[in-house]
């Protein structure tokens, strides 16, 4: 029988690995629109991590800022500038 402590630390480790993969994809992706989406996935993993690490007040600030406002501001920036890293459509 798995104990609650092991379950909680297992979920934390899984969220860490998900965020690591999402960060890797976000940094290496050449389409900036997809990079923003991967960055939002990573922020969602961090939001669950804050909740499990007993910081619910951080969660209330972090979810609107990192899942809502960061992608919105960067999408606005991509709309004003260019979409592909290293020039348009090579």
């Amino acid at each position: 029988m798995i104990s609650p402590e092991t379950l909680v630390f297992g979920v934390l480790a899984a969220l860490g690995l998900i965020s690591m993969v999402a960060t890797f994809m976000a940094v290496l992706e050449r389409d900036l629109l997809k990079a923003v989406l991967f960055s939002a996935v990573q922020s969602t993993a961090y939001a669950f991590m804050f909740y499990i690490l007993m910081a619910p007040d951080i969660l209330l600030v972090y979810v609107p800022v990192a899942v809502g406002l960061y992608p919105a501001v960067i999408l606005f920036l991509i709309k004003k500038t260019e979409r592909f890293e290293g020039g348009e459509e090579e």
Binding site: A13, A26, A55, D57, L69, V73, I74, L77, E85, G86
Partner: protein
């Protein structure tokens, strides 16, 4: 016998440190300014999560989790306070991170404004092309 909980916690800390490394790579070696801003937000968030992880505490028993640092009574008795101090996680990193999240948002909006100005003046967000410009 390997300690499973310590191993899983090490996996968490390892993935956070890998995130720091990957986002530093994105800041220093990716050419696009937009990609640099995305990597900077990831770097700031990872530093915040590391601060919260430092403030977490060990479980006193496998079925007694730590509690959030919130007192739920108006006039706490000595028994309430001793239960609080033996179970609650550290509130100081949470107070610091709460401020850092908001400051990070302000810095990001400022950098977005600067990048829009660079694109209006030079017509590109590629630092390799901006470095070759004269004047």
């Amino acid at each position: 016998m390997i300690d499973v909980n310590a191993f899983l916690f090490s996996v968490l800390v390892f993935s956070l440190i890998m995130n720091l490394g990957i986002s530093l790579y994105g800041i220093f070696w990716r050419p696009s300014l937009v990609k640099k801003i995305i990597a900077l937000t990831i770097l700031g968030d990872t530093a915040n999560v590391l601060a919260i992880v430092v403030g977490y505490r060990a479980w006193i028993a496998p079925n007694r989790p730590p509690i959030p640092p919130v007192l739920t009574t108006w006039k706490p008795t000595a028994a309430d306070l001793s239960k609080f101090s033996s179970l609650a996680v550290d509130p100081l990193p949470q107070a610091l991170v709460l401020t850092a999240v908001v400051i990070g948002l302000a810095v990001t909006v400022f950098l977005v404004f600067l990048t829009i100005q660079v694109y209006r003046l030079h017509g590109t967000t590629d630092v390799r092309k901006i470095a070759k410009l004269k004047g």
